[in-house]
């Protein structure tokens, strides 16, 4: 057996302090991730000063664990309160909450936890086995391919909507994209729709927007029904004993591996492949797999929905591992988290990039193993967190609603330390409330807000590089393939709509 691998195994499994650090990081990650407004990136950035005192393996182990846990914990408020922690969970926020209203919260959360663990483990294995091959694929992607990939992500979010209401999803998406053009345009170096307000130069950040659209609007919806004597806050279902939750998790595990092995592998593969592309990897992965899982039409049966949510969480956890591929292989960060990781590694005198595989193979293997450990530690910590979350939601509604608002306000403020973001959250809360009442889905608004800017940038960059010739968008082989895929999705959407109106 490979001596470097043995050494790495000894280093990862044989160290008590490392285990303690990982468990502590898992709790910290769950805590930060479950608070709307605090992101996984922020968790890592806040951790950097501590990382200075740890050795590379422990520092990386802690970061990997806290990110995996934070991304999963983002699902807890998504499912229980419809406040997504990340744009990735916005993909299924509405559907998951609808299940919660039916009293299935515990089941959805168990599936989400198990799928996250499975996705994380498969992602780690793929990273180990095929990392450098995948990296070669990533290096073929130029701005043109990104443009088409973003377009695929956007059209998938329209496809997720049931056939008759796709125009509503499209309209929400366009609203999101229009909002994303507010602020200083990076490619034009020109302010747009800012009305000479300095605050608007930064544009509308998607985290406060998301908290407002989903969280605050839900509080408004509740308030609107309070006076009419309806009780619409879902009872989260009876909190069973721990045994019940374990049973759910086991059922979910069985369903992942026995009933839907193909879907599980497909979701993980998609997650890793899309996640390794620098940019909004995990978010697109989540939308695309959610769309793929629901492609069969408009089956809205609960079972199908739970499975689709499982697929999406699998993909977004696998995407985390994907983000490490360009980081380790080229030293180019795959997302903002790996950018911090590169900083931490450099601080430890480790330069990521191809040389790391030759000079410090045991460190690379340690990172791989830490990925596995992190995902396994997540299982018990996640179960505890779900249980805690379920009991918190049982606080009487009159007290719960103000506390949710308090969290929304604090979360929106703390992202950038700006009261303007709180204003954005409030306005978006109003918009979300109105859109929701008229049956417009909110997820596409968030995706439009996240991808609108990059899409325009890539389009302009591709056109600049080709000297303004629109054919420059399809002059590379992968670009052509992606363009055809986009067209197919659009045709599918149109045909579905035609059938619905006919």
């Amino acid at each position: 057996m490979n001596p470097a691998l043995l050494q790495a195994a000894g280093e990862v499994f044989g160290r008590v302090d490392l285990w303690l650090i990982i468990v502590a990081a898992a709790c910290y990650g769950v805590f930060v991730g479950a608070i709307p407004g605090l992101t996984a990136t922020m968790a890592v950035a806040l951790f950097v000063p501590v990382a200075y005192w740890l050795d590379p393996v422990a520092a990386i182990g802690a970061i990997v664990t806290m990110v995996a846990c934070a991304i999963f914990a983002g699902d807890i408020p998504t499912v229980l309160l419809r406040i997504p922690g990340t744009p990735a969970s916005a993909a299924y926020a509405d559907q998951a909450y609808r299940l919660t209203e039916k009293g299935l919260a515990q089941q959805v959360l168990s599936v989400s936890l198990v799928s996250s663990v499975v996705g994380g483990v498969i992602g780690a294995v793929l990273l180990m086995v095929l990392g450098s091959q995948f990296a070669a694929i990533a290096s073929w992607f130029s701005v043109t391919e990104y443009f088409w990939l973003y377009l695929i992500g956007l059209s998938c979010c329209v496809m997720v909507a049931p056939a008759g209401t796709r125009w509503k999803a499209l309209l929400s998406l366009i609203l999101g994209m229009l909002l994303s053009t507010v602020g200083l345009s990076a490619v034009h170096l020109q302010p747009r729709f800012t009305f000479h307000t300095v605050d608007l130069y930064q544009g509308i950040s998607f985290i406060p927007a998301m908290i407002g659209l989903f969280g605050l609007s839900e509080v408004f919806a509740n308030l609107a029904s309070v006076r009419r004597g309806e009780d619409s806050v879902p009872s989260a279902g009876p909190i069973g004993a721990f045994g019940a939750m374990l049973r759910f998790s086991k059922a979910a595990m069985v369903s992942r591996f026995v009933k839907r092995p193909a879907d599980t592998v497909r979701s993980s593969l998609m997650g890793v492949l899309i996640g390794m592309l620098p940019g909004a990897g995990a978010d697109i992965a989540s939308w695309v797999t959610f769309a793929a899982a629901r492609r069969g039409g408009d089956r809205d049966a609960d079972r199908e929905l739970v499975d689709a949510i499982g697929d999406a969480t699998t993909a977004n956890s696998a995407a985390l591992a994907g983000g490490w591929i360009p980081t380790l292989v080229f030293g180019i960060p795959g997302d903002s988290i790996t950018a911090i990781v590169i900083g931490v590694l450099l601080m430890k005198n480790v330069t990521p990039g191809p040389a790391i595989f030759e000079n410090q193979p045991s460190l690379v293997y340690s990172i791989y193993l830490v990925f596995l450990v992190a995902n396994l530690v997540m299982l018990p910590v996640g179960l505890l967190a779900i249980r805690l979350g379920l009991s918190l939601v049982r606080i009487p509604k009159q007290i719960l609603l103000p506390v949710i608002v308090l969290f929304c306000v604090t979360g929106a403020y703390s992202l950038n330390g700006s009261l303007f973001d709180v204003t954005v959250m409030l306005v978006m809360g109003g918009i979300g409330f109105l859109l929701n009442r008229r049956g417009f889905p909110l997820g596409p608004v968030v995706l439009g807000l996240v991808l609108g800017g990059p899409l325009e940038e890539r389009l302009i960059q591709a056109l600049t590089a080709s000297g303004g010739n629109p054919l420059g968008l399809v002059n590379r082989p992968i670009a052509v393939v992606l363009a055809i895929a986009t067209l197919l999705i659009i045709v599918r959407i149109l045909r579905g709509q035609q059938r619905a109106t006919a």
Binding site: I174, L223, A339, G353, Q398, L406, T410, L419
Partner: protein
């Protein structure tokens, strides 16, 4: 008994006065000698994970032990640096807000993007400066700046380059070099890619021929032999890449780079400036910081107050000269204009909305069949002078044409909705002055009472939740929340 009352009263009075005097004295002393007393905020104009963020966070940790109070980093991102620099310059001048300014401070005001100039700040110290460098792919034929220059001179097609958004520091660096070498600026097409990492990715995907950025940003790929550095735009070799020749060595007199420095807003009391500057210089000169900067590849270049002020005005004049050149003042050549995409989106959105409206109207046509549809009847009623009738008309009209909206408004209990919105607005307005705990406490209490929670329970909930939330965010996580009257 009778006599003892005034005596004890007097004693109590005296004790209170004594206590107050002691407190005041202690407080006064504290104020003068033990500044700072509360957490300091360090504004970083760039997002978490970037180079400036890394430097800021490392600096904050060391400054914290130097000052004895927490130093919290806030990422005030967006607007290409406008947001962070503006917030830093307009912060309260009490010495509790520092800004990690970057080279964009020299550039934004020349592009009239914001009114903030180096004069809006009180310079404390510059801590770092990184020279620009030119990178090409390892399998490209060019070995030196001269080769590349030759290529640019002879080739009929422009080469594609990037490293940052158009008009950013690395774009200026490249244009300055072309200018010094007597090459026309259209020999290079600048693709506006936001950031060095995606530009390098694009270089590897053959989407670009040249990348201009600083050495630490590209070091991993240079070490890996994937890309080649042709020259550093500086007079001395970079410690991060000592074997790369400088532009000066290759016979080109051109040096430019990005810098980072700490600034106070204008108007901070002089003794606080001195105290903070001492602390900053001690940190910047420490071995620990030097070690961190070396490991990250950043070049430490400390300049204290006076030198930094001179440096700022010098670079500001330089950038003004470059940015006012005719080719720079023209709008950056972009394939499509800034309002192209928004207008396309708006048109598309209108079309979809019209379509959707049609669909939902058709779907509801059957429901409406029962209501009167005679147009003449409607016209005559709308013309009628009778106000009551008109009002009824409007209502019927609304119900007829916007059934959803009508239904929604009629069924919503608007009072608590607007109540909640109003208290959030109140929070936004009062938070900066009163502080987070008072404002958020008032907001929570008001909301609880609006939902008819009994007063004792509401007060208890507020008193328990708000301070613990503050402690959780500000204390445990180090995410600063507004500080106000209570010192919270």
């Amino acid at each position: 008994m009778r006599a003892s009352v005034p005596i004890s009263w007097l004693a109590a009075c005296r004790a209170t006065v004594c206590l107050a005097t002691v407190c005041l004295a202690a407080f006064g002393c504290n104020r003068r000698e033990q500044w700072p007393q509360r957490p300091v905020t360090l504004i970083c104009p760039w997002s978490a994970g970037g180079g400036t963020d890394r430097v800021s966070r490392q600096f904050a940790v060391q400054l914290e032990s130097e000052l004895g109070v927490p130093v919290n980093v806030v990422n005030a991102t967006g607007g290409g640096g406008v947001t962070g620099h503006t917030r830093g310059a307009t912060a309260t001048a009490d010495g509790y807000t520092l800004t990690m300014a970057t080279v964009e401070l020299n550039m934004l005001h020349w592009r009239s993007l914001c009114p903030i100039t180096p004069d809006s700040f009180e310079p404390l110290a510059r801590i770092n400066q990184d020279a620009a460098a030119i990178f090409v792919s390892a399998d490209s034929p060019w070995q030196s700046i001269e080769d590349l220059e030759g290529q640019l001179r002879e080739s009929p097609d422009p080469l594609r380059a990037s490293g940052t958004a158009a008009g950013g520091i690395w774009h200026l660096a490249l244009l300055g070099w072309l200018d010094r070498s007597g090459l026309p600026s259209d020999t290079v097409t600048w693709v506006s890619i936001n950031g060095a990492a995606p530009s390098l990715q694009e270089l590897m995907a053959d989407g670009l021929e040249i990348v201009c950025c600083s050495i630490p940003e590209a070091r991993a790929l240079v070490d890996a032999g994937k890309i080649r550095c042709l020259g550093v735009m500086s007079n001395q070799r970079s410690p991060a890449a000592p074997d790369v020749a400088t532009f000066a060595e290759q016979g080109i007199d051109w040096s430019i780079g990005a810098w980072r420095g700490l600034l106070f807003p204008q108007g901070v009391p002089a003794e606080h400036v001195t105290r903070m500057r001492q602390a900053i210089l001690r940190v910047a000169g420490s071995d620990e910081f030097a070690e961190f900067m070396e490991a990250s590849g950043f070049q430490v270049a400390v300049a204290d107050g006076e030198q930094f002020a001179d440096f700022l005005s010098q670079t500001d004049a330089d950038f003004g000269r470059i940015l006012n050149q005719p080719e720079m003042t023209q709008a950056p050549s972009s394939a499509i204009g800034p309002y192209f995409l928004p207008s396309i989106l708006a048109l598309f959105g209108l079309a979809i909305a019209a379509f959707g409206w049609g669909v939902s109207r058709r779907a509801r046509a059957s429901d409406l069949a029962a209501e009167p549809t005679d147009r003449v009847f409607w016209k005559s009623r709308l013309r009628s002078k009778d106000i009551e009738g008109r009002r009824a008309n409007v209502a019927t009209f609304a119900r007829r044409w916007f059934p959803d909206a009508f239904h929604a408004l009629a069924s919503v209990a608007t009072l608590p909705l607007f109540g909640f919105a109003a208290v959030i607005v109140l929070f936004i307005l009062t938070c900066e002055t009163l502080g987070y705990v008072i404002s958020a406490g008032m907001m929570t209490l008001a909301m609880l009472l609006m939902l008819r929670v009994r007063l004792p329970i509401a007060v208890t909930a507020t008193v328990v939740i708000v301070p613990s939330l503050y402690q959780g965010f500000a204390g445990v996580l180090g995410v600063p929340l507004p500080w106000g009257w209570l010192g919270w």
